[in-house]
Symmetry: C2
């Protein structure tokens, strides 16, 4: 995905495509790691010295509000991914790695009267790599 395309995505969501926002969204569209604001800051500020923490927080909040990103709330810090339906997350308690897996909720779950805006299916446990490490000990 080219920078010009990222701009189009921003415009389509009624967001002014400023330099910083394009850089941040571009990073997220090419990163499937569910990064935290911290990680985004570290990686981007190494490349673009003109990048402030507050700007990243502002942008991430805006993108979530406008429906481009989904936040993933953990015990410590929030992490982000491009919003797309049909998947859930496995979060490893040991290494904090987040893995996507496909899922479809066909049931309606009798939530009459509630306006459901997004759904979130999260499994927690230990990932294969960490299980292996534990065995070795």
């Amino acid at each position: 995905m080219k920078m010009e395309d990222v701009k189009q995505v921003l415009k389509k969501h009624d967001i002014q495509p400023t330099n910083q926002r394009v850089i941040i969204l571009n990073y997220l569209m090419n990163n499937y790691d569910h990064p935290s604001c911290d990680k985004i800051y570290d990686e981007l500020s190494a490349i673009y010295p003109i990048m402030n923490r507050a700007t990243i927080y502002n942008s991430l909040n805006l993108f979530v509000e406008k429906g481009i990103l989904s936040p993933i709330y953990l015990n410590d810090k929030c992490r982000y991914e491009i919003k797309k339906p049909g998947h859930g997350h496995f979060i490893c308690q040991e290494c904090q790695k987040i893995t996507d897996f496909s899922v479809n909720l066909n049931n309606s779950y009798s939530l009459d009267g509630y306006e459901v805006l997004n759904t979130d299916i999260t499994f927690r446990g230990i990932c294969p790599l960490c299980l292996e490490k534990k065995k070795e000990e």
Copy 2:
């Protein structure tokens, strides 16, 4: 549930049933509100002056670790409930109220190699009360 029963629950989970722990767990077993540490502190310290914030954090973390409680991670503070399977949460974006609803995940979700320790299904949106309020405006 009597205090004596709460003690038994703690013992069954290999936790020393100290006064504070019994008081905290008793509170949670009679409260279906998914309270935050803050709320637990406010309510309990009004009744029992001998109640420290750190103690409540310590106890909640211990209870989660030992499998008595489930944490519910929100954007700001963590909230807690007695762990029991077969339900998900609806979280209202306006008033932050958490509502339980029953759910059963029968699929296995192809997570071979992962050790899944708990599952969490959360819907977010607007609850009926807040929808009503918004209409009035």
